[in-house]
Structures are given as structure tokens and as C-alpha cells.
Symmetry: C2
Subunit: 455 residues, 2 copies
């Protein structure tokens, strides 16, 4: 039953969600969920480490370092340690700076608001890897369900749902770690609700990645306040002046509670193989496959024709990008880089790579055909070689979709590429191991401490 | 021109407001505005000090003390010092716990989100009293104008405007103190916009006073980020996916910019003489006046009949309150206490005062007549004495309204009553002096340091 009116008596969904969070037992987590949590952790950690020296992160650290409390938690990929609230903030920012983190198949970047809060708290209070995984799974469950209860109207209105729903994820996950009871968990969700914020107007500025950081910090703060008895509404989600009705024109409370515990939203999480917009991924896939199978080099190619959905030209039609960031919005550059480097990671979208003369020449050979019937993550490529040979490839589901997920090895490769400038090689292998075995770790803080950079 | 549609090209109001904040010169502040700033400071400080030991404040301190950074700023009325962000948060909470702080004549509690941010920053970076006053005046100007640009639709939707507009006030004021240029001030307003939050669903819980604290902390953080170059939208107020259109069904950008600098919203600020809802103030006034003029005591009184606007019975119709908080929502108790004590401050709304047998007897002699034509802050009282004498008083404008403002002496009395249990008497006088002379202080931090409690 969808509920559009603030006058209908609402179901006590906040309490129901709180009860589920309290009663959920980590021993009941299915093996595939635990494995997906390792994959999510590895992918998230790579993104955060890969962005650790980015301007956005450096400025945030510079701004807040004078206010850091005791050195309780690691700022990932950097020498600094901070109190857990600032660690959650900064690590939340670095998670999303590259826009390379995970995406739930319908909405929200699930890990960026949740894992920074959970990892910082686990490091400080010495929770086990199994506790961290359980909290992470539950945080994602809460944030996705709450996000979908108002999606897409809420997003269409202008809210950045990764921030607005993310704060609930962080609050739910850290409430679980702290062992709060049902009433206090409901309060934590309420304290989260009253901090829910983040505007899509910020896209294109540093504030976009501030949103998951702010959500992580505030969700963690909500659980810490509730733990000490700071009261809130216990129906913050469904009340007429609560989250659902105030921040959206449509609110469906059943999305939050129906079938809780019977399935896990984390299993519908997707990882990006390429460091650019999802809509280009299918044609990048096609180029990489043809390159591999035919040992292609740029010199052998006469033309590249990509057939794509209209979204691709709407979002990524920049024919002559000048910077790394512009390169991420140029399907021309993405395909040229894929052929030249056999990859489309962060390095291929650096300003240096975008200004590489080989890339400048090759992207002039790329042409785009828009095909309105094509799905968002579908694409076709037709490459004509200088010797007249024509190679074609149709990719129905890009790598990284639920239909064609990245393999564990793909995720390791992505991680290694992201962290190569941040961590020494020995540490990289240790950290990959720690992620795969996180559920067995006695002290989950190991993951954070291995992710320190030595100055 | 009101602007309802997100498709109309909006005026660059964020930039216009930022430019005003940058160009405003403290030497141009009129004397009455400077004096009102002293009054506002004194009133705010009394409220914060009076609530310093309240549960809400104690729990917030206990929750966040493990994360406090360096001892940069005073937590008012308590022994703790904290980093400026936590000081702003805690002092913002204590400002509003008693619901006894100032109210702009149309909307928003102006000082609670602004002064905690300004005072903490001034204490840490050693700004002068004149700089503090100027920043306070500008912060209030920004927050009230932004609040009114979406009022009342935004409030009616369920937003607690003291939080949602307050964050802009804190950001504007601290941007001024930090001397940010126009672009960075616009960014600070943008970083504030994307943190704007606070739901009316929280009324009745500790989260209500959390809102101005959160606004103070986040607005200050916004200015600190912008100072270091953290980018944001520079049209966060007016953009289609910005504050005005996302958080309200109506947004009138001209309210923000029209006549900027020609008038000061701080001059339309009101102070509460009584520690309860505004709607009861006129009849409390009437009782206090009659008591004073006729040396009334409870024993002499047969009946008290109050004639009030319908709002009074809607909001404060509790005939037999059992706790201090319930007493604040009982016009019966308020009038009884006014007669018994000749006052209606915090002490008269303690649980002890509410359970005082004299009050229990006298409030049974109170009756209420609703008069629909009466204005919100108007009221009449008719007291019949046991000897048959009838005394009547009609108060058209309650004490504390713009038409009948509290005098400086009234504000001092209110301050003294609020802080008597927190500060030693000598310090009270010093602090009152510091408030009246704040514009002349070389180091505004004196105000904060005088407001420490010695453990």
C-alpha cells in the first residue's frame, strides 16, 4: 500500500526497522552476503585510497585538522589519524571523490556513507570483522530501503539521495555495532532523519563528495547521542512531519519493512570497472574485448563507430576534452584510451592521459550513432582497420552490471591500480587479504591501520 | 516578483547576498543596531547559561566529549572547553533548551544558531567585540531573509526553520569574521545550503534544541571549508535544485536581496520575559501588573478569568500539569504562578513550582474565555477578590513584543534569574557589563571565558 497522504495513520515503520536491526543475528548471514561484503569493502577501500591525495580530500583535512580530537581512527591513505567523527567525514569524502565507488542497481552509492562510520567506530572500540560485516550489511539494508521508499520523486525534486538516505545507513550500522536497544535505535534513526540533507545543485563541486562524508559523520554521531540517551522521535520516518513526507512528494513505508531479513540489498550492488560514467561502460567493454582478441594498436585503426543509447550523447558528448575530469565526460576519449592503454581506470582519465597526442589523434577517428532503442548499459562498436578489416562487438550488459558482475580478480585489479601510488606493494597484498578474510578478523581495525600512508 | 517556477531564470541572489556580506562595513552600523546586539547577546547568554546543567546539554557533552579537539572555546556555563566546532554545537543546544531565547517577529529564533558559532570562532582567533557584533548582525540578517524567502510554506511543510535557515546565519556570520571574499562567501552559503536540515517532527524531544546547535556547527564548518578553497555551487539559494526550490513550495528570492543594508532585521527581534509560550504572555502581564498595583496575594483572590485568543486554549489548555515542562503548556499554572511569585521565569516552571500546593489550589480558580477576535499577543484578565472587589486589565501588546519591548533592566533581571545557580554573583555583574560594552571589547573571547563555570 503506497501512502501519499500525511493524514493516513502510518504504520510504525521506524520501530519495525529498529526492531529488525536489533534482532538480526550475524550468525544468520548467508555466505554470499558475507562474500559480497568483502567485495564491497575491497572496492570501497580502493576508491578511498585512490583519492587520498586529491584536492577535495586535502582541503577537507586542512580545514578540519585544527579541530581533530584524539587519534582514534585512521584517515585512509594519509598519515593523519583523527577522532572517529572526523575520520568518518574525511573517509566518506574520499570514498566518492572519483565517483568510482559502488552503485545499488536502483539508487544510492551504498558504501560511501556507511563503511567510513563503521570502520572508524570498529577501529576505536575494537569490534571484530564479523561485527563490522554485519553492521555494514544492515546499514546498507536500511539506507537502500529508506532511499527506495521515496525514490525517484525525492531524487527528482533535487535531493542527493546518497547523502539523504546515507545518514540512515550510517546510523543503523553504528547503532548495531554499539548494541543499542530498539528504542535507542529508533532515536538514532530519528537523529539521523533530522540531519538528512544534500542538494543535487552541488554536483560538479567538491560538495558532491562531501555528502557521503557528512552522512557518515552525522549517522555515527546520531548513534553516539542515542547511546547516551539523547531523545528523538521514534517515528521519524513515517510521521506527517517526518522524513518521508517532508522530503518527498511520495512515501511508501512498506518498501522499508516488507520482507526485512528475507533478502539483502547488498547483493544488488554494482561495482564500476571504469573510472567514468556508467553509460559509456558497454562500448568501453566492446573496445577492450576487440583489442584483446585482435591485439589491436591505435596505429592499425581507421575508424571507431559506437552505437549507443541517447543518454551517452546527453551526458558524455565532449569531443575535445582538455582535463582529466572533462575526459570522464567524453565517450570519444574513453574509447581512444581503452584502445591505447587496454584499460579505463583513473590513470586513463588523468589530465596527462587526456592530453596524450596519441589520444588526441585517435579520438578524432571516433564517431557516435545514437540508437533510441538501446538500453542504458548496452552498446555496439564497429572498428574499421586501415587494412579494410571490420570488427564488430555488441555488448548487451556492460561489465559491472548485475548480469555481468566484475569478478573477484577484476576487483583486485581495480584495487591495485587505484592504490599503487598510495601504498607500498607489500601492504597492497596484505590489505587485499584482509578484505577477503574480514569476516574472520578478531580486530577489524587492522583494515584501517593497514590503509595508513607512511609520510 | 515572487518566483514559483524552477524554470524561470533566477537572479543571482546567492552572489548578491555574498557581495553584501563582504562589502558591509562595521563602521556603518547604526547605534541602535549595536545596542540591540548587546541586548541580544545578553539575552542569549542567559538562556544558554541557564540550561547548562540541563539533561539535554549534559547528554550531548557526554556523547561528544571523547571526540573534543583542542580546548579552543568555552562550553558555556560548564567547566569543559572544546574545539570550536563542538563548542558551537553544545552552546547552540543550550541556547534553545529552555525555549526562552529570542524570536524574530515573523519567524526563526535568530541568535541560537548564530552566536554560538561567532563567539567560539572569536574566542579562538581573538576577534574584537566590534567584529563579533558586526558578524552577529549580518548573520541574523542573512538567516532571517533566507527564512522569510520560503516562509510560511517551508515551515508548514514540516521544516524547523530555526535549523534550516539558521545554518546560513552561522555561515554568513563566520564568513564575515574570517574575511572571506565574495566567491568564498558564496561557497560557504552553498556548503551551508547542502547541510540545511531539521524536522518539526522532533518537537517535544531533545532534537528540537539540537537543531540550532547543529546549524551553528555546520555553518561554522562551511565557512572554514570555504576559507581553504572547498568549492560549492555559487547559486545554492536560487538554483532549480537549490535550497529555495527543493525545501519549499514557494521561494521569493527578492526577500533575500531587496533593500539589503537599508534596514536591520535584528531590530525586529523580540525577547521573552516569561519562560513559556508567547501566546500566554499578555495575560501573565496583566496578572503581574494587577499584583504589583494592588499588592495581591493568592489568599485574597476568589477567581481569575482570562480572556484570550483561541491559540491559547489550543496550545496551553492543560488544567492540571504534573511536571515543569507541562507547566509551560498550562495557562492555568502560568497565571497562578504569576500571582504567587510575581514572576514567570524558569523557576516558576520548575517541577517543584508546578507541584507547590499553593499553585495547585490557585490554578483551580482560573477560568478561560476564548475570544476569537483577539490577536495572538493580546489578552484580558478579570480578578475577583474575596472581598468582592473586581480588578480588570486589558493588555494589547504583551511585554516583549516590538510594541512593548523588554527594557534593558528587564533583560538584566531575566539574565540574573537565569544564571544565579550557574555563576558566582561577582561574575554575573562582570558578564552583564561585558555584554553592554561588547562593541568596545578588544578581545570578544572575554565574554566566553567569563561564562565558564568553575567545577
Amino acid at each position: 500500500m503506497a501512502q501519499d497522504s500525511a493524514t493516513t495513520q502510518p504504520a510504525p515503520v521506524t520501530r519495525q526497522l529498529a526492531r529488525y536491526l536489533v534482532e538480526s543475528n550475524g550468525r544468520d548471514l548467508p555466505a554470499d552476503v558475507i562474500h559480497e561484503a568483502s567485495r564491497g569493502l575491497l572496492n570501497w577501500l580502493g576508491c578511498a585510497l585512490g583519492a587520498a591525495s586529491h584536492d577535495t580530500v586535502a582541503i577537507a583535512v586542512r580545514s578540519f585538522a585544527p579541530f581533530f580530537g584524539p587519534a582514534q581512527a585512521q584517515v585512509l591513505g594519509r598519515p593523519e589519524r583523527a577522532d572517529i567523527l572526523h575520520a568518518a567525514l574525511i573517509n566518506g569524502i574520499s570514498s566518492h571523490v572519483l565517483d568510482y565507488d559502488d552503485t545499488h542497481f536502483r539508487a544510492v552509492h551504498p558504501s560511501a556513507p556507511v563503511l567510513p562510520a563503521v570502520l572508524a567506530l570498529a577501529e576505536w572500540r575494537r569490534f571484530s570483522g564479523a561485527q563490522l560485516v554485519h553492521a555494514y550489511v544492515l546499514g546498507v539494508e536500511a539506507e537502500i530501503r529508506i532511499g527506495l521508499s521515496v525514490f525517484p520523486e525525492h531524487y527528482d525534486r533535487g535531493w542527493h539521495i546518497t547523502g539523504t538516505a546515507g545518514v540512515f545507513g550510517a546510523a543503523a550500522a553504528t547503532s548495531k555495532l554499539l548494541g543499542l536497544d530498539e528504542e535507542k535505535t529508533a532515536w538514532a534513526l530519528g537523529i539521523a532523519a533530522t540531519q538528512s540533507s544534500g542538494l543535487r545543485e552541488m554536483f560538479g563541486s567538491m560538495c558532491k563528495s562531501f555528502h557521503p562524508g557528512h552522512a557518515a559523520q552525522n549517522g555515527l554521531g546520531a548513534a553516539l547521542l542515542a547511546e547516551q540517551g539523547f531523545t528523538s522521535s521514534d517515528r521519524a520516518l513515517e510521521a506527517p512531519r517526518g522524513f518521508g513526507h517532508v522530503l518527498s512528494s511520495r512515501f511508501d513505508p512498506e518498501t522499508i519493512t516488507q520482507g526485512l531479513g528475507g533478502s539483502y540489498e547488498l547483493l544488488r550492488n554494482m561495482y564500476k570497472p571504469y573510472a567514468c560514467g556508467l553509460v559509456m561502460h558497454a562500448v568501453i567493454d566492446a573496445c577492450l574485448q576487440l583489442r584483446r582478441e585482435h591485439s589491436l594498436t591505435a596505429e592499425r585503426i581507421a575508424t571507431i563507430q559506437a552505437t549507443v543509447s541517447p543518454l551517452v550523447t546527453e551526458l558524455t558528448a565532449k569531443p575535445a576534452p582538455g582535463t582529466g575530469l572533462e575526459g570522464k565526460f567524453s565517450v570519444y576519449h574513453a574509447l581512444a584510451a581503452a584502445i591505447i592503454h587496454g584499460a579505463a581506470g583513473e590513470a586513463q582519465f588523468s589530465t596527462e592521459a587526456v592530453r596524450d597526442p596519441r589520444a588526441i589523434v585517435l579520438r578524432e577517428q571516433v564517431s557516435i550513432v545514437v540508437e533510441p532503442t538501446m538500453r542504458k548499459l548496452e552498446g555496439k562498436v564497429r572498428i574499421e582497420l586501415r587494412d579494410g578489416t571490420v570488427l564488430e562487438r555488441h555488448v548487451e550488459h556492460a561489465l559491472g552490471t548485475l548480469e555481468h558482475p566484475m569478478s573477484d580478480a577484476d576487483l583486485e585489479d581495480k584495487f591495485r591500480a587505484l592504490v599503487q601510488d598510495t601504498l607500498p606493494p607489500g601492504r597492497v597484498a596484505e590489505l587485499i587479504d584482509a578484505c577477503w578474510n574480514v569476516f574472520q578478523l578478531e580486530d577489524a581495525g587492522v583494515v584501517a591501520r593497514l590503509a595508513a600512508s607512511t609520510p
